[in-house]
């Protein structure tokens, strides 16, 4: 048995991995680290995978409190200037993790029904713009684990928007995973999000999934597109076979 190198500390393992992988090209990245994480090893857990963003991002609490205070107030005019200002303030953030955290906190605290909220489209647009590249994967998981109804609904709407408007940005595994989440979440979200999910599923997964979500294709006298296509292909082949 060979001894484990004793003198290699801290970064050595990272270097070893990179060296071993070398041409191998496994890329190990140093995750963003806050001061709080330095002081509290327990908080490290949040930096790995699929953690709600609220635990990972550095949050400007004063700014968040101000925005939430405005947005969480039941107001006669949900399109009022102070609400618009608060939402604009959050949407103007450049740091994606902070922006995501604050938008979701604000969304969760806001009592305004989404279908009566003139700022809802802005919120969804802001969230949807966050989903890029590998961040889409953790975002989808966040959509699944989010337990605050209004925040979850906002995430669902944001991914429906992504699927509808930018489907080409989804890799094949991401497209499949998003389809699976849409199927699994469809019955758990309000009617507004159900409709959005159906439209999005039609875009990225085809008519059958969307039709089935709407309850079509389940009865004995109903056929799905895949079944009609299959029959059509058989019919087209029959003359050839006859020849």
């Amino acid at each position: 048995m060979q001894a484990t190198p004793r003198t290699t500390k801290s970064r050595a393992w990272l270097l070893l991995v990179v060296a071993t992988v070398g041409a191998g090209v496994a890329v190990w990245a140093l995750a963003p680290k806050s001061k709080q994480q330095d002081e509290d090893p327990g908080s490290e857990s949040s930096a790995s995978e699929t953690q709600p963003a609220s635990a990972t991002a550095e949050v400007d609490l004063t700014r968040l409190r101000r925005a939430i205070e405005v947005l969480s107030r039941a107001q006669a005019d949900p399109a009022g200037a102070d609400r618009r200002g608060a939402m604009s303030d959050l949407l103007s953030l450049n740091d994606a993790p902070s922006k995501l955290t604050m938008l979701l906190e604000a969304a969760a605290a806001d009592p305004t029904a989404p279908d009566k909220d003139p700022l809802w489209p802005d919120l969804i647009q802001g969230l949807s713009a966050i989903w890029q590249g590998d961040g889409i994967n953790s975002g989808m998981d966040l959509m699944f684990v989010e337990s605050r109804p209004r925040a979850r609904d906002a995430l669902v709407s944001s991914f429906a928007k992504l699927a509808l408007e930018r489907p080409g940005e989804l890799s094949a595994p991401q497209r499949q995973k998003l389809t699976e989440y849409f199927i699994d979440l469809h019955n758990r979200v309000p009617a507004l999000q159900q409709r959005e999910v159906e439209v999005a599923a039609r875009k990225i997964a085809g008519n059958d999934v969307a039709d089935l979500m709407q309850g079509k294709g389940m009865a004995s006298d109903e056929e799905l597109e895949v079944q009609r296509d299959y029959k059509r292909s058989l019919e087209q082949k029959q003359p050839v076979a006859a020849q």
Partner: protein, 540 residues
């Protein structure tokens, strides 16, 4: 103490892994007296080398705790090699007198097999399924062990949630002076309700799917065992005749202590009935009389537990030409009510693993070797480390500890509850009684685990669906009421949930090398951990 967090942002690319890192199923070690092994295949440490310096601590080189905490991917690999090891009589294998009352001790009808993989070995090289034992009159099939750690963590977290609700109900009852009823819900799953009385007693008649102690027991078809460690030590004895005097199980079961295993599992001795080890007392005890004592030292149990905690979850195989069928089938599966018990995905709050491996369909594409599957199974695995690096004051290599983040267990399809599935599932016991309640079988991997049912008496997926009754009668009837075409879509979906042979599955740890000689016999890629060892030259 400085702490740095490393995560894998992306881990792709061509990596040439030495042939020594490939591995095979059910192996002898290369140091044994075997000739003719010109290709040098096998385990590269003898049993003494695997035992190392015992349990030790994180400053004891070559000990299990040291390796688990400072070189965790080696620890996983060692557990894997132990899992595949074909034990010899001189190492304590067999030797057990298997007489006794089979109605009381089902293990009398178990084993004997010389390796874990002998029963849990399909697909090859994996901790899969395949065996069948006489622990019940109508037999039990050996389930696959993919995702075992995730199951343990889910069961443990649900237990904590349910017991927390119970404690809150008791506190409310005692403060109000009146009985308090609370619904038992965890991770979106309902376990009925419980009523706490001011005098500290509980009414548990409305508890559903779990014992009155609210402890979820994820393992065995009837839901009998709490932890991987109990499962492993029990199987070593019952199926292989290898007895371990495991101190963790001993302290939790006999001394009723709260024990944290090296894998981070809490054995809650004061509150749970933990299964004791087959040997207790001192290590000189030789209960099977084969002349060999201490047949399964604690360090080997540690490695085995850590390996199974971190074992890959099953994969999904959805080729582009099947995606429409698979997704439509999943939607029908949901619509007809199957997911009321076969819950698709659940979330773990604190993941104790050090890595996750996501394995999906990837067509063989020699032009893109960094993401291509191989011609053997057209799957590609992406490994992601989930560790924190702790630079402790010692002169030893850094600690690499689980990051402990949350994790979504996708495509699990179970609810960790017991259900009555009707007469077709009812199982005979040797004493003439019947077992009617069974844990919901997780459907991940279902496509590659025929035959089906706890007893393997259903030859196809469709037959085991049709076998459902009892609480699942409505969903079964709904499936049966679908058109033949829709049933086929459901089956297409279920056939996308697969196990895979890790030695033969390309990954970001070992890509395919189609340009190499004798491809794909060589260079087909693998889920190879050796490059992640502190010292990759020291192979397992």
């Amino acid at each position: 103490m400085k702490v740095r967090v490393y995560v894998v942002a992306a881990a792709v690319g061509l990596m040439t892994v030495a042939s020594a890192t490939t591995s095979r199923a059910q192996m002898r070690d290369t140091l044994e007296k075997i000739s003719g092994n010109a290709v040098n295949e096998g385990i590269h440490k003898n049993i003494g080398g695997q035992i190392g310096a015992g349990r030790g601590n994180n400053l004891t080189q070559f000990s299990s705790i040291y390796i688990i905490q400072r070189d965790p991917f080696r620890a996983i690999r060692r557990g894997r090699q132990l899992f595949q090891r074909k034990f010899l009589p001189t190492q304590g294998f067999n030797g057990r007198d298997r007489s006794g009352n089979i109605a009381i001790d089902a293990s009398v009808g178990a084993g004997i097999v010389d390796s874990c993989a002998g029963c849990h070995g399909r697909p090859r090289g994996s901790a899969g399924h395949g065996g069948d034992v006489f622990t019940r009159p109508d037999s039990r099939d050996a389930p696959h062990l993919f995702g075992l750690g995730l199951q343990e963590m889910l069961g443990d977290e649900i237990t904590t949630d349910l017991r927390g609700i119970r404690a809150a109900a008791l506190a409310a009852a005692q403060s109000s002076g009146t009985p308090q009823t609370r619904t038992l819900t965890s991770k979106g799953i309902s376990y009925g309700s419980i009523t706490a009385n001011p005098n500290g007693t509980f009414v548990t008649t409305a508890v559903q799917g779990v014992n009155a102690d609210l402890r979820v027991r994820p393992f065995f078809a009837q839901g009998g065992t709490i932890s991987i460690r109990e499962f492993a030590v029990g199987a070593f004895n019952a199926e292989m005749g290898l007895q371990s005097d495991d101190p963790d199980l001993r302290n939790a079961s006999i001394n009723r202590l709260r024990v944290v295993t090296p894998s981070g599992m809490v054995l809650d001795g004061p509150n749970d009935a933990i299964e004791g080890p087959p040997v207790t007392g001192n290590n000189g005890v030789d209960p099977d009389g084969d002349g060999i004592a201490n047949e399964m030292p604690v360090s080997l149990v540690d490695f085995m537990e850590f390996y199974l905690l971190n074992y890959f979850k099953p994969g999904t195989s959805v080729s582009p030409d099947r995606a429409t069928d698979v997704n439509a089938g999943r939607t029908i599966f949901t619509n007809i009510g199957c997911t009321s018990c076969h819950v698709a995905s659940l979330t773990i709050n604190v993941d104790r693993r050090v890595a996750d491996v996501e394995t999906v369909f990837s067509d063989f594409n020699p032009g893109s070797p960094t993401t291509s599957g191989n011609p053997l199974n057209r799957m590609f695995a992406t490994a992601t480390a989930k560790i924190v690096i702790v630079d402790d004051p010692s002169s030893e290599p850094v600690l690499k500890l689980p990051a402990g983040g949350s994790f979504v267990v996708n495509n699990f399809f179970a609810d960790l509850k017991r259900h009555d599935l009707g007469n077709n599932f009812t199982e005979r016991n040797f004493d003439g009684s019947f077992q009617r309640l069974f844990m919901t079988e997780p459907l991940w991997g279902v496509a590659t685990t025929a035959p089906y049912g706890h007893d393997g008496r259903s030859q196809t997926v469709e037959e085991v669906i049709m076998r459902h009754g009892g609480e699942a009668q409505a969903a079964r009837d709904s499936f049966n009421g679908q058109s033949r075409a829709n049933k086929n879509l459901v089956l297409a979906f279920l056939n996308s949930l697969v196990l895979f042979p890790p030695d033969d599955t390309a990954s970001n740890l070992a890509n395919i090398n189609p340009a190499g000689s004798n491809f794909p016999q060589n260079g087909h890629g693998a889920i190879a951990l050796t490059p992640l060892f502190n010292n990759p030259a020291d192979i397992e």
